[in-house]
Symmetry: C2
Subunit: 337 residues, 2 copies
């Protein structure tokens, strides 16, 4: 076990570029739907929603729907509306998250709640969430509606669960994995599963793409949770050490606490309970994470889930789309380096 | 025009009792579904949701679904699940409203946001909202899903619109009616329309019941908005004069402002902008509303909408169910006396 995160780069750093190129044309259609359907006569709605939606973000979840459809050679366009619905659900949860966390930054901009206040942010989230269901109803697949309404309930459960775990130093690795499986991976999985449903690709394809999405989502979240301790604000687009100051029990904390000395464990308890929030405290936390291998092992865990995501694709022919999806999984992990 | 609200009582005060009796058996099934489907492994969810759901409330909206089904002699049970979905949507909006308004009381109890905080209240609202859609998906009617997903989007728009109108003394009667049509009447209308859809009662029955619900919802909201200035805290189950202190532009305010002297108008502007919040200010506001006939005319408007609701039922045979629904409309208005 080393005290530092060892950068391991392949000759070419994995990126999302192949997936972005793969779905570029489809994404134009999805973006048009998003812009069209976030409109409302109530001017504050497109204004607030547009701040977040037009303000960047990778559109990762709808991209997964589109990429999975390419993988299956789906010739139709039904998935465009559904990919927009997925992005609306995601945006609604981001808006509510910002209220829940009292966020100050999101995607490198001031969080919506700071500009328009909590009330409008909550309500515009509700609007986008309802709009997502209207889009699904227009498509008309009860199976898609089932997948995404269930995913939405699971996300909310995961968020409440995370709230309960917050500042609770006893949170276990299992509880943490359950939480991120719900709050993050459920929508990744649903986004991927929507494609084989509309493509009528069968149960095996559905199960495989659900597994790809779920494992990819966990990998992404693990890396995000590591990056919160290792990156800088500009890269993250949100405040550095936010998780630390919010007392979020993420895997790097859980591992560093479990492996720490009595003094270290006291530090972590104080820190998670909010009585250690200075820059020096944060620097000390990162040092402990490095010394105990907590960051290394979080990245290793992410690598394992990313690998599972890749393995789930093995039932599909090795084509352009599959290679882009494999590289997306590599990218999820590579972001940490 | 009199300076006082004149109590006009018929020999028997209209009540919800006939409707409650009409649907009692069905409501037991709905309540069982509500209790069953608000459960979650995440303990905070049933705890918080139960505070509001088990804590009373008239269950008016699901009651309308059940009564409309009786009116149509619908022999099935599909509407039980859908009535529960309607109540979940309503509960989700109440939880979010409490966060939006910073409520202190709801249904005579401390508001959930004060007990569990805004974050949990927002997220449990999201959970119930998702659960509502899961219930609808289980039922499997795309038409019902369309009606209720659209109603949900309209409610959110109405809430944002209301937020925009808050403290804005220029808000017109038309804008106000548009807002309450969206934030309140849309769900009343949808709750009623669900019954003819599952009963396959045809377009005329759907249109009639939609109109009954919509007009009844507007009547209820008009009376609620009047009661906020005339009732006492125990009757309302929430703080007296909350609308006044929140700067909510309701019809009694709009009328009293429009009809006031220059001094009165200055008072209303100050009051709605939040610089007149004392008990004496509230008493002055009520006095102005009585002197200008603003309260009388708000009740008269409610009576008109309640009458439209009753008229919409004229296509149905005059039976037990219809009489209960007519009396519910009379009750909506009679609450003010």
């Amino acid at each position: 076990m080393t005290g530092n995160v060892t950068p391991i780069r392949s000759h070419a750093t994995p990126s999302l570029d192949p997936m972005i190129a793969l779905v570029a044309e489809d994404m134009n259609a999805v973006n048009a739907t998003i812009l069209d359907r976030m409109q409302s006569k109530v001017a504050l709605i497109p204004e607030l929603a547009g701040h977040l939606i037009a303000g960047g973000g990778k559109r990762l979840r709808p991209m997964l729907t589109l990429a999975a459809a390419r993988l299956l050679d789906y010739p139709g366009t039904r998935h465009h509306k559904l990919a927009a619905a997925v992005e609306f659900i995601h945006t609604a949860t981001l808006l509510h998250d910002d209220v829940v966390d009292g966020s100050e930054m999101r995607r490198g901009k001031r969080a919506a709640n700071l500009i328009w206040g909590n009330p409008a942010t909550v309500l515009v989230g509700d609007f986008l969430f309802s709009r997502a269901f209207e889009l699904m109803v227009e498509d008309g697949s009860l199976k898609v509606l089932k997948i995404l309404s269930h995913a939405s309930a699971v996300i909310a459960e995961g968020e409440v669960d995370q709230l309960t775990a917050q500042r609770r130093i006893e949170t276990s690795e299992e509880e943490y994995l359950h939480i991120i499986g719900a709050k993050t991976a459920a929508l990744f999985a649903a986004a991927c599963q929507v494609a084989p449903v509309v493509a009528e690709a069968g149960d095996d394809a559905e199960a495989a793409l659900e597994a790809y999405g779920r494992n990819l989502g966990i990998a992404f979240q693990l890396i995000d949770d590591a990056i919160d301790y290792t990156s800088d604000e500009a890269t993250m687009g949100k405040g550095l050490g936010d998780d630390f100051r919010d007392g979020k029990m993420t895997l790097p904390v859980i591992l560093a606490h479990a492996r720490g000395s009595t003094d270290d464990r006291a530090f972590w308890k104080d820190a998670m309970q909010g009585s250690r929030t200075s820059d020096a405290d944060l620097a000390h936390a990162v040092a402990l994470m490095r010394a105990t291998g907590a960051l290394d092992d979080t990245l290793e865990a992410a690598r394992r889930y990313a690998r599972r995501a890749v393995d789930a694709l093995s039932i599909f022919p090795d084509n352009h789309a599959r290679r882009a999806m494999v590289e997306a999984a590599d990218f999820a992990v590579a972001r940490a380096y």
